[in-house]
């Protein structure tokens, strides 16, 4: 095993290294610099925050921008930095590969104890519905969804996730129902009878992406996926409650259920009026 000498982040390093070990593996495993990522494998652009032998220029990252260490004013954006690198290297693309895994407690998988995630997202929704009191049909005209996903890494992607969540939530709140007979055979095994919303059924959706960057998550991100389906059903059913005064305890709230509940309510009111 050869001994290597180098300057790493301005500090001299002397280390014993296996023959077939790559520089990246050496940095990550031997030196514990796990910020270094498999990409160019040259460490040249400095994006991986490791400076080999004092090269490249001393740069630092702050607030999504690239700064020169000697001058706190001079900075460029990530996009500009990558564009400059590519221009300098005749269009050679900057490619990075990364992943994030929360190094949490394994107990959660074995004993079902502990913390599931490093950070939890919060979301809320509000719906405007019109209920046809003769047919029980519900028309959702507007939906507002606010989601705290930490720092959104890609705004359009988060909005897409939220709109997808509204579609899923709309499905389980008012359309999708598996029906079975007493022997357990499914009674509606086709998309004609098992209904789910299509693009034509989607309401107008306004998304609000809010919240502070999270300390634990990658680049301050939390989640924007499964968790955001949760408030859709309650928002719709609460709106129906506000419109009709009826409470529904089982989903989906199909037109027939609404129609029956309205009918029962009217009958109860008529009986009460007759008693007085």
């Amino acid at each position: 095993m050869p001994i290597i000498h180098m300057k790493l982040n301005d500090e001299p390093v002397e280390a014993l290294v296996q023959d077939n070990r790559t520089m990246l593996d050496f940095l990550r495993n031997n030196m514990g610099l796990t910020g270094a990522k498999k990409g160019c494998e040259e460490g040249e652009c400095g994006a991986c925050t490791i400076l080999l032998n004092g090269k490249p220029e001393d740069i630092t990252m702050k607030d999504h921008r690239v700064f020169i260490k000697s001058n706190s004013e001079k900075n460029i954006s990530y996009g500009e930095a990558i564009w400059m690198y590519e221009e300098k290297h005749f269009g050679k693309a900057v490619i990075g590969v990364g992943s994030f895994a929360h190094d949490g407690d394994k107990d959660i998988y074995v004993k079902n104890e502990g913390n599931y995630a490093p950070a939890y997202s919060f979301s809320t929704g509000a719906a405007r519905v019109e209920v046809d009191d003769e047919t029980g049909c519900i028309d959702i005209s507007d939906f507002i969804f606010a989601h705290d996903c930490g720092r959104p890494l890609n705004l359009r992607a988060v909005e897409g996730q939220i709109e997808g969540s509204v579609l899923l939530g709309l499905g389980f709140a008012v359309y999708e129902e598996c029906l079975f007979d007493e022997k357990g055979k499914m009674l509606n095994p086709s998309f004609r009878d098992y209904r789910f919303p299509t693009a034509l059924d989607m309401p107008q959706i306004q998304t609000i992406i809010c919240g502070e960057p999270d300390e634990e998550g990658p680049f301050g991100a939390k989640e924007a996926g499964e968790g955001s389906t949760a408030p859709v059903g309650p928002a719709i059913v609460n709106a129906i409650n506000r419109a009709t005064g009826l409470k529904f305890h089982d989903l989906p709230v199909t037109p027939e259920k609404v129609w029956r509940a309205i009918k029962e309510k009217k009958a109860a009111e008529a009986a009460e009026a007759a008693n007085q």
Binding site: C137, V174, L187, D201
Partner: protein, 110 residues
């Protein structure tokens, strides 16, 4: 004499597929001739003659149209299945029968 017709079905929200078509022949506000057909409530499409007879020769008011809806509902016998109960279907025939008549009158004005 203006002719007017309209159809109404509610396939979007329910898997229930009742279709109602109404055809009216008007002389001013008086109904001279009328045909109402129901689809998806029996093995074949049916005409509800009793509801039609209620309207023919009369000045169409909201009350009369509502009565025609009730007559259409009473003169049909839909089935219960996985999509909807007969009870719900029957009430929907009432609703969907009166709506296209009103809609036909509205489009006639235009």
């Amino acid at each position: 004499m203006p002719l007017t017709s309209s159809t109404q079905s509610e396939r979007r929200w329910t898997s229930l597929s009742i279709g109602v078509a109404a055809w009216l022949k008007m002389d001013g506000s008086k109904c001279v001739d009328c045909r109402i057909a129901l689809g998806g409530v029996a093995t074949t499409p049916i005409r509800v003659l009793k509801a039609e007879q209620l309207l023919i020769g009369q000045v169409l008011t909201d009350e009369l149209i509502a009565k025609a809806g009730v007559a259409a509902s009473e003169n049909s016998s839909p089935i219960s299945d996985v999509r909807a109960s007969a009870e719900y279907r029957k009430d929907m025939i009432r609703v969907f029968s009166k709506r296209p008549i009103k809609k036909a009158l509205e489009t006639n004005k235009a």
